[in-house]
Symmetry: C2
Subunit: 318 residues, 2 copies
């Protein structure tokens, strides 16, 4: 029998899952609408039934574990805790609930940690022992690997770099505090910076014709690609503050590489070039030219499923 | 034969060393003036001769290793590299030079990492797997332990939290950059904050009678103890910014405790109380009430020697 792992990515709207072999190949996949299951027991029933159904199509494989990426997940306890974007309130013992239906090891952690594990096992961080993945989407998530091991910390919640304070008394953050990195260096942060610049700058810009509620990081990146001065400055300012966040991470753990992933990272060199420029300019001297800034080596497509599966494949040698 | 370790702390002015048993007891100690040895080979000769002399007074002990804390030390390479405060320029292969004179394992790392190792093996972090030591002296040094292991990073220089950027375009730092944590949260930083406050506030203060070049963190702490309003506000502002530095470390590695060590930490509750207050106020919600702020459990007296020795004792089980 060949071995296979189920990778599951639970999002506020959709849950995607798949069977992943040891090379990272997704053999079969499926999805559920998370919001269809306001009761956790119903969700677990639907998810485990769907995984069993996928397995029944791959009779030559035996399931050796289930890896799950989810918001506000606690690795030590196998729980989802007080997730504001999910219907399941309080502390949800997700790993135990799933193990009661399918008797294999279950590992739960947040989606950015799963992305980092995917990068290490299947992506651009193969062979690296010290690296950080930043997921630049609606918020800023992070997964940190030090000396070959994911950092979970005393609480199991380590790696919340989006909530590093970068500007004292700065922008309101969704967490209720002010000046967090994710209020600047994320897809949403880029939109906010663009709005701020439209108030400061006098240059014309096609972005001024888009209602703020419809403005996206993608539209800003497209304008920047056409050399729109407002969009270019927004990219530059976002890169500068992301650079400070990256430097504050480098002085902590001195990684070999930082991987940028997610919607904002899809701006490509429009973001990467100024990030590298500010890193060269502002980094602490001991760490100059020691850190690579890289795009993820995993496709955005099924990266979440591969990353979640990697939680189980990590440490399995045969 | 009982086992003993030599712990060595190399400072810009003095080098102290001692023989430390597995309980952390310093059996014998000595010191050299670092500045008497502008040539590294002369220094190594003098140091190894002095260690052998100490050993000759403790015939019942056998030396099993030498641990060294030094500025700008690289753990991976066993070197001191481009240390601005030492006469030895370039890259000094310290571990190899010492091993050529005394054939035992030699571990070299920076002094704050040695302090953290001392805390873990002999001090208040016994039994802890995730903690950070901040040494608040002329600068701000740090030693980071994650999952029971010291963080050295890809380069061997990890743990430079003093050079986290906390204020964009802020105070000049000795490293040539601006707004580093150590320009605010250190003994020197407290003095700078006090000078700034004397320009802003109108209250009388005995600190106004001291020439700035003679102002010290000790004098400011003494004034704060007597409720001098300038000194109290300086302590408070220092604690607030140190609090942001601590929070930025917590979101990274989620430690169980942060230990404060060094000259500024000797202000005791005048510093600890406002640090705890700002941590309660400003910490990210997932980590509230998860982190203890503690004084070091090692005496300042021979803490450096004990910490350096702990580099060797760590991992030795018998």
């Amino acid at each position: 029998m060949k071995k296979v792992v189920a990778g599951v990515d639970i999002g506020g709207t959709n849950t995607v899952f798949g069977l992943v072999d040891k090379t990272g190949k997704v053999l079969a996949e499926g999805s559920l609408k998370t919001t269809d299951y306001p009761k956790i027991n119903d969700f677990v029933q639907a998810l485990t039934t769907a995984i069993k159904k996928l397995l029944s199509t791959k009779k030559e494989y035996t399931l050796i574990g289930i890896g799950i990426g989810a918001p506000d997940a606690n690795y030590h306890r196998g729980t989802i805790e007080h997730a504001p974007n999910l219907a399941w309130k309080g502390i949800v013992p997700l790993a135990d609930l799933i193990k009661s239906k399918i008797k294999v090891p279950v590992i739960v952690t947040n989606d950015a940690n799963a992305a980092a594990m995917g990068e290490m096992i299947f992506g651009g961080a193969k062979g690296m022992k010290d690296f950080i993945v930043l997921t630049l989407g609606t918020g800023l998530g992070s997964g940190i690997v030090i000396d070959g091991k994911m950092v979970y910390g005393h609480t199991g919640f380590a790696g919340e770099l989006g909530h590093m304070t970068v500007v004292k008394d700065g922008r309101d953050c969704g967490c209720g505090r002010k000046g967090c990195l994710e209020a600047y260096a994320s897809a949403t942060g880029l939109v906010r910076t663009t709005l701020e610049l439209m108030s400061v700058m006098r240059e014309e810009s096609p972005l001024r014709d888009i209602p703020p509620s419809k403005l996206t990081s993608k539209k800003i990146a497209e304008a920047a690609a056409k050399k729109d001065p407002v969009a270019l400055k927004a990219m530059n300012d976002t890169a500068e503050i992301l650079g400070f966040g990256i430097i504050n991470s480098i002085v902590f753990s001195s990684p070999e590489a930082i991987f940028l992933f997610g919607g904002l990272a899809q701006a490509g060199e429009l973001l990467f070039a100024p990030v590298r420029k500010y890193l060269a300019k502002n980094n602490y001297v001991l760490f100059k030219n020691t850190v690579k800034i890289l795009p993820s080596g995993i496709s955005e497509n099924n990266g979440a499923v591969m990353g979640s599966a990697a939680l189980i494949w990590n440490g399995i040698s045969d």
